[in-house]
Symmetry: C2
Subunit: 325 residues, 2 copies
Amino acid sequence: MQRMSLGEFDLIAKYFHRPAREAVLGIGDDCALWAPTPGQQLAISSDMLVEGRHFLSTVAPERLGHKALAVNLSDLAACGATPRAFTLALALPRADDTFLDGFARGLHDLAERYGIELIGGDTTAGPLNLCITVFGEVPPGQALRRDGARAGDGVWVSHPVGGGIGDARLALEVFRGKLALPGDAFERVRHAMERPEPRVALGLALRGLATSAIDLSDGLAGDIGHVLRRSGVGATLQAGALPRSPVLAAQDARWQVECTLAGGDDYELLFTAPADAAERVHAAAAAAGVAATCVGCIDAAPGLRVKDAAGRDLAVVGGFDHFRA
Amino acid sequence: MQRMSLGEFDLIAKYFHRPAREAVLGIGDDCALWAPTPGQQLAISSDMLVEGRHFLSTVAPERLGHKALAVNLSDLAACGATPRAFTLALALPRADDTFLDGFARGLHDLAERYGIELIGGDTTAGPLNLCITVFGEVPPGQALRRDGARAGDGVWVSHPVGGGIGDARLALEVFRGKLALPGDAFERVRHAMERPEPRVALGLALRGLATSAIDLSDGLAGDIGHVLRRSGVGATLQAGALPRSPVLAAQDARWQVECTLAGGDDYELLFTAPADAAERVHAAAAAAGVAATCVGCIDAAPGLRVKDAAGRDLAVVGGFDHFRA
């Protein structure tokens, strides 16, 4: 490998080192030392992002920095955990200042919004790969889990006010050349794909209200399967009830079904709540600055059924599987 | 990408899912939930291993599984922390059963020896990349750090009884075709490279005894620099005192210097201790089943000086830098 203008340790110091706040000892020792809040459980999640799989090479570095942390915070949101800290391991083909400057800015901007700290990590040369591990806290017994859905519960999806799910997938199809969109419409769905907003506030508001939760990362039809299997239940969804942005709602019906049900990269919360909790769910969503829409219900009979507006069964499309796609 | 015989979720279930012991909620939810021991600080470290940089494509999968976890445990050892749990994020070019079976075996065997648990992670397709984050615990104020070396302290290196440091580098040079070794000698140094043993017990025994510690991963001359800079001191090392295995001691003097001082991949502990602590250091090492050798001393004057057997200055060779190598 050629000699770089910037060495590994300079790189960490320049782009990623911030004065330790919460950490007893932050970046620059063998380990970070960190004291969790006494009496809280730790919620821990790792997500690895690979170029060409989780992001395109064309993405702006600042958006990539945002997204790498956002998808991890989304896992904390789905558990109803309060974000506290994270580590970053980074493999880079080369130490490129323009990339690192933008990436670090996007990462730290989002971290600062949530008051969380980069406490450690690793940097190496290699094919571009971003691995973040996030740490959140939740009072014992209050975490949202995948195994609590019960027959009769409503199935809910969060989404932007006036927006929906599936926009990220729609943007991907434009990049793939499968369809075309006017410039402003494309920018809107591209924003959904490249700059997802983790639903942390909603996750916290759903503690004690939602019976189960998961974040939408691989597509609704696949992701809900994890909840159904772990909860030992089934579900019936109304395809027509799935929230769609004006951009997606203007596409062919086929794309609307594909993007909402098998979209991926939504980073919204899918959750279940008792049938009589609709008002409280709407209030929780409003307090978190988002919308929530009831899209179906949990059944005792296993399996996923999706109905179209006429009540006919739609063939269910699966979620994204990294070794089958 | 072609369709695989094994999907992402099957892969996790088959190779990495074990019943949760310590974790309240382990693999299979958005987050792992884990309750640290009340009153302890968490020691957290992430290491990312990339094919061709941290391991060769020829390594046996079982050894790779061992090494991926071992290098992370080595960071906990250097902090004097008790290992508790870890996460694994894995990018694989393909879901290969032979690879995964061996890799998971090596990983879980080492984890079981330390009684620690794989509590979560991620799996994706991509160029081979292994990212482990380990969690250890240490009583507040007792962690070994890089910033505590004081003038007059002895500089110590751990090593196998009857062995030394630098064998991993020697093996790498054989793979690179720079030198040749008889089969049994090669197997011994290859073992050092591919199956390092983290010095966890020694790290625990050094609490309250060592004034600073770091693990040797990028080569002694580079790694000690982190201790010197953070402690605001210098050091003088005796090259002739550096412990060498019989295999390395039989090589040219040039290789002995290169491998011990700029070796890399040793995963031994380099630590400092007060001058009058030699007996206690030897006792701590013996109790941990390893040896420790005093190789120099900490000076008030900044910088690193290395002397040969005749007391002449050796030119100092730097450690490994992933963006300069």
